[in-house]
Assembly symmetry: C2
Homo-oligomer: 185 residues x 2
Amino acid sequence: MTTTTDARERLVATAQELFAAQGVGPTSPRQVLAASGVGQGSLYHHFPTKHDLAVAAVGATVDEALTAARRDLEAGGPALERVIGYVRRPREALAGCKVGRLTSDQAVMDDDGLRDVVTAYFVRLLDAVTATLRDAGLPEAEARDRAHTAVAVVQGGYVLARATGDPEAMRAAVRGFVAMLKETP
Amino acid sequence: MTTTTDARERLVATAQELFAAQGVGPTSPRQVLAASGVGQGSLYHHFPTKHDLAVAAVGATVDEALTAARRDLEAGGPALERVIGYVRRPREALAGCKVGRLTSDQAVMDDDGLRDVVTAYFVRLLDAVTATLRDAGLPEAEARDRAHTAVAVVQGGYVLARATGDPEAMRAAVRGFVAMLKETP
DNA sequence: GTCTATAAAGTGATAGAC
DNA sequence: GTCTATCACTTTATAGAC
């Protein structure tokens, strides 16, 4: 590996930022070129097609998101508190979820490879939350349902915040959920 | 009004379908032309720009969605049961919410007029659910938070269903929410 | 491994005949 | 009110020099 390899890394990092800001479909290879500072032929050397660049960038974003979630869910303290810590974690609500938003990105959902990356993220996230709720003493079926509710509240919170233009909308959704969660043993 | 006015109606109906299927940004006026069967100059006669067509189509979709929600929330029966009826209503989970998906559509969020239509929908929807939960006996603050949670569960349910490719994911999120709602007076 | 130049197709929009 | 033809621009991608 030569030192020029970091052109590839800069391309992936730039693509991640642009994808998060405006989606995969609306982001052109040209924009990635301009924002990253690498040359035109250079991009197509490392990533022959937009698909290849997208797989690398979306894969990296998903890895980061899953790592953050597991950090919350496998922290110290009672299992229920760890789930509450996960849903309460401060988020850039107005930006939307970097992974969740991809589910309405046609360029992603029409691409088998990309869609699979998004699917794997949510399957693993739901499994992790379910396992934590099971640790909290819930029976399997209730743990699975409530894990879906928890993740849905976060994803829906992003939608409400973006729709209303107010980050408080997400916090209200989380507050309502946590209040109910604490009252239902 | 001449009978030729229905060219306009066909354009709006076709745009609604295409927007729901693939989003506003990725839908070109050309596609709307082809799918609706009207001529090229005809579209630009009724809607000088894509923005104008989008405002008409998104406005119609929002009106339909709000009407459906109010039908659930203002039905007969106890207030709490009406909220449960709203979140439980069968939905095309894999298609995504026709309005909620617009919050990650850059073509919508970058357009002041379109974004305002989406904002108004969610503000009104949240107000309607909040009012119903107040009728159910909840204090104002709790009613507002729980209304946000309810709408977030539906929106997040769509995200989970699309992400996992399984409509059951949305039903699980709703089941978890309803179970908690019934246990917390 | 990176560059410039360019191709083929699609985009939103306009012109002007009918 | 509707038509065909066309414009200026952007898209993804390739060619071939360095």
